[in-house]
Amino acid sequence: MSKYLLDKFLYTVDRDPELVERYREDPAGTVEWWEAEMANRILNCASAERSTWLEFTEDERRALREQDHVTLFQMGAHPFLTLTLFIAVFERDHGPLEYQKAYGKAMEHISLPYPDIST
């Protein structure tokens, strides 16, 4: 399991307006494209250089495809990254703070200690 790669997906999609829309419209296609094209791009490095070893597990792919924030939390994805991206994707369909409250409510069965988010 790679918390780092989950975080990298959330981070790169959240920071690109086109990718936010693409992930909203076509989550499965975006996850597939991202893993093929972006997962091994080293962000703080010259663009020609790539890593060779980063890939999702099937469970991680499914959680991202299904936009399942509860499972992402339980996998140890960084909660700030998940929250920020999911607000960008879903808040527009809800009234003020309605989405944020429902997001927390869906996790009310989770108690301390929370999953470790260290990468």
Binding site: F73, H78, F80, Y103, G104, I110, D116
Partner: protein
């Protein structure tokens, strides 16, 4: 030598800008009280007549990323552009450009390294709302040069709380040993109890009002040792999953000094999180005559 004109610690609430500028039906019911408290807080900086601002904050996965993550970083550049697309999108924050004070940044880096803080540096740093929120609240004209100091409260493994306090103490000594006639304010922002992306987020109050009460007491009374005795990297998970941002308040307690009572203390209980504002004047309240 430079003079430490004020030490200021604050929460950084990214919704303040939108709440304070909205009108009519869009204006939240708590906006007027919030603005009044911020204006009183702003006056505490204005009175200190600073020339330069050292701004302590934390990048929220904007420029700093997990493939190259510094624990403590000083920005040394002539300018700092500010705020990012996702902060514009979520909080309505404006784009800004602030001037940098490179001579003080160079001094903090050299002196900090010589004091065994292995500080990272950046010569091209785009700063985020942890620094622009206090600019908006405390110095909205954004006219003073800054030295950004970023801490990692966000991407574990994190430094220990005592290192935040120690760096705060060192920043004070380094500011006061800077060969300059400038007046420097050190401003740092963090959080009290806070939950982001977890089951306790966006409640009626912050996730742990009792922690907030104790935290305000530690800060206001300068109880550095009491705070260090109670707070650990593990303990900070309990009040809320983003409460490690409290370590930036601990850094500012280090700047203010053990036993230093704050000259200005204010709080505002909002949904989701409590706001808290503190100002210390290390060399006396400006304009106040000390009785003989």
């Amino acid at each position: 030598m430079a003079e430490l004109a004020a030490v200021i610690a604050s929460t950084h609430h990214p919704f303040y800008y939108r709440a304070s500028t909205s009108t009519g039906a869009d204006r939240p019911p708590f906006a007027d009280e919030w603005v009044a408290k911020i204006e009183r807080f702003r006056e505490t900086l204005t009175r200190a007549e600073p020339d330069v601002l050292v701004m302590v904050g934390s990048d929220h996965f904007h420029q700093l990323w997990l493939d190259n993550m510094p624990q403590f970083l000083v920005g040394k550049a002539p300018f700092f552009d500010a705020n990012f697309y996702n902060e514009e999108r979520e909080f309505g924050l404006p784009r800004m450009t602030l001037r940098g004070e490179e001579d003080l940044a160079a001094h903090l880096l050299r002196d900090g390294l010589d004091r065994d803080f292995d500080l990272a540096f950046s010569n091209e740093l785009r700063i985020d709302h942890s620094i622009t929120c206090p600019i908006i609240t405390l110095r909205p004209q954004a006219d003073l040069p800054i030295v950004p100091v970023y801490t990692n409260i966000f991407a574990p493994p994190l430094p220990q709380p005592r290192r935040f306090v120690a760096l705060g103490k060192a920043i004070r000594e380094m500011v006061e040993s800077w060969e300059s006639d400038k007046r420097v304010a050190v401003i740092g922002t963090g959080h009290l109890s806070l939950e982001l992306g977890g089951p306790r987020q966006f409640g009626e109050h912050g996730p742990d009002p009792e922690f907030d009460r104790r935290a305000v007491e530690w800060i206001a009374s300068g109880d550095v040792e009491g705070c260090l005795a109670e707070v650990s990297l593990d303990s900070l998970h309990a009040p809320g999953n983003a409460t490690h941002g409290f370590m930036d308040f601990m850094l500012m307690m280090g700047v203010a000094g053990e036993g230093a009572k704050a000259d200005h203390v204010d709080t505002l209980d909002l949904f989701h999180t409590m706001e808290a504002y503190f100002t210390w004047y290390p060399n006396g309240v400006p304009g106040e005559v000390v009785p003989a």
